[in-house]
Every structure is written in structure tokens, then in C-alpha cells.
Point group: C2
Chain length 152, copies 2
């Protein structure tokens, strides 16, 4: 049959919906106000100091137009800084602030426990297998979205 509820696309949406809800609930309960996207951006800025927005977008597979707003909010919360690049006046170099570093350090255990919660219906082995299959499907479909993952 063609039951939408049993299509891969629908399952993808549902799983992501739960993943986001769990993330926000756990992080909120721990007293922080950070979305999954903001967390990924902040962690990637910390790991790649001074990178520009397009590179950041490629490293975590966002659209470049989405990044603008995400950075806006990180800057507004005092977690990141946006500086004009001296080498390329079109580009903005991104830096994490001390406050951002503190937030990231305190929040990471919560984020990791959220990951366990969203897989709580699966055994450890099944969780690993789900992640392997997702990685494989994503690698094959990477070029199909407007925001493919791009290695540094």
C-alpha cells in the first residue's frame, strides 16, 4: 500500500521531530536556551576558530542563507563573534566567546544524554546499526540537497 506513515521520508521526519523535541527538553531542563542547530554551529566554530560562514555551513551541511540567522542569534546571546576578515573583505570570521566556551562545556553532557534518550527504544547494537545506515544513506544522497556536507 502507499501509507505515507510507512514511507522512509515520513519516518525521517518523525525521527527528526522527536530528536529535536528531546534535545530542547533536555537542554532547557538543564537551564540553557540553545537549539540543535545553534549547538552544532557553536561546537564547529570552537573547533575551527576564525572560519567564515560558508565554510561553517559546509562543515555541518546547512544552507548558507540559514547560517546568517543562526549566527545572528549566537552573537545576540553573546556566545560567538562575527568579525570582518582582513584577507577577504566579503567574508566574516567567526570566533567563540569565553561565554560560548563555558556554555559549550556545561551543555555537552546534556547533549550527549539527549542522544541516548532519542535512541532509547533500541539496543546499543541497534543504535549503532541505525547510525551506520543513516551515515551510508546520507553519504549517497549528500549532493541531492542544496546544503551538502563539504569537507574542509
Amino acid at each position: 500500500m502507499s501509507d505515507p506513515n510507512d514511507m522512509p521520508g515520513h519516518l525521517a521526519r518523525r525521527f527528526q521531530q522527536i530528536a529535536v523535541a528531546v534535545f530542547l527538553a533536555e537542554v532547557g531542563e538543564a537551564g540553557f536556551d540553545l537549539t540543535p542547530v545553534q549547538y552544532a554551529a557553536l561546537a564547529t566554530i570552537k573547533a575551527n576558530p576564525g572560519l567564515d560562514q560558508v565554510t561553517l555551513a559546509g562543515l555541518i551541511a546547512y544552507d548558507r542563507t540559514t547560517i546568517t540567522g543562526v549566527i545572528d542569534r549566537l552573537v545576540q546571546k553573546g556566545l560567538a563573534e562575527r568579525r570582518a576578515s582582513s584577507r577577504d573583505r566579503r567574508a566574516r570570521e567567526l570566533e567563540i566567546t569565553d561565554e560560548g566556551r563555558r556554555t559549550l562545556r556545561k551543555i555537552t553532557p546534556t547533549v550527549e544524554s539527549a542522544q541516548r534518550i532519542m535512541l532509547r527504544g533500541l539496543s546499543a547494537k541497534e543504535g549503532e546499526e541505525l547510525m551506520r545506515l543513516l551515515r551510508k544513506a546520507i553519504a549517497a544522497g549528500n549532493a541531492l540537497s542544496r546544503a551538502p556536507l563539504r569537507e574542509a
Copy 2:
């Protein structure tokens, strides 16, 4: 390490991102203007004529506030109708139109081929296994989002 790119939540987001992109590309190429959400809603209305919006939301696990806009757009495109219920004057009964039925019939093969494309990196067996694991994880996490699946 805590690489966001390798967390279940991030993989969920990436896979869904690709799934939506593939859906829109295939459906658009076939000459239709319908989103994944609109498709799921329309197919569910067809299968459950006269259902109200809250029931529809439960059957495909949307938030009730999201449904309002989705139905707006289906009605605007002439694919569905919203009627006041005679039994409960708070509720709206939803019906698919002839045009909606035609669209659904013509679009379904395209939707199914889109599902195959988003799994193209996996063998048939792996695709089945991915779906099984997603279903299992979703069932366990169903109550964790604001829009859980609700049986009729």
C-alpha cells in the same frame, strides 16, 4: 569526541533534509507543486473522509497548529475542502476534492520513486533494516514530541 556531525540527532536532520529535497525535486519535475507534508495530509484525508483537523494531526503526527496552515494551502490549491461539522460546531470536517483525487493518483508513483532515491545508497535489505530501526526508535520516543502519532 563529541563531533556534532556524528550524533544521532544530526544524522536525523541530514537524512530528513535529503528526503525533503528529493521529494520536492521529483514531484516538481513531474509538474506538481506539493510538499511532503501536504502529500501526507491529502492522502490521509482521502483515506478518512470527513475527519477533523485534530484527528488528522494525530494520524500523521503533526502539531495541530501546523495543520491549520497546511490545510489552508490545500484548500487554496483546490485539493481539499474544509466544512463546518454538524455534530460539533468547533470542528471542521475535511474532504478531498476530485481535483485532489486526480492529483494524488497521478503523483503517487513519483512519490514512491522519490522514496527509492533517498535510499539509493543502501541495499534493499539495508533499506528495510533502516526503516525497521526508525520505526522502533520512533515508537519508543513517540510521546516525547508535542505531536505524537495517535491511532484512530
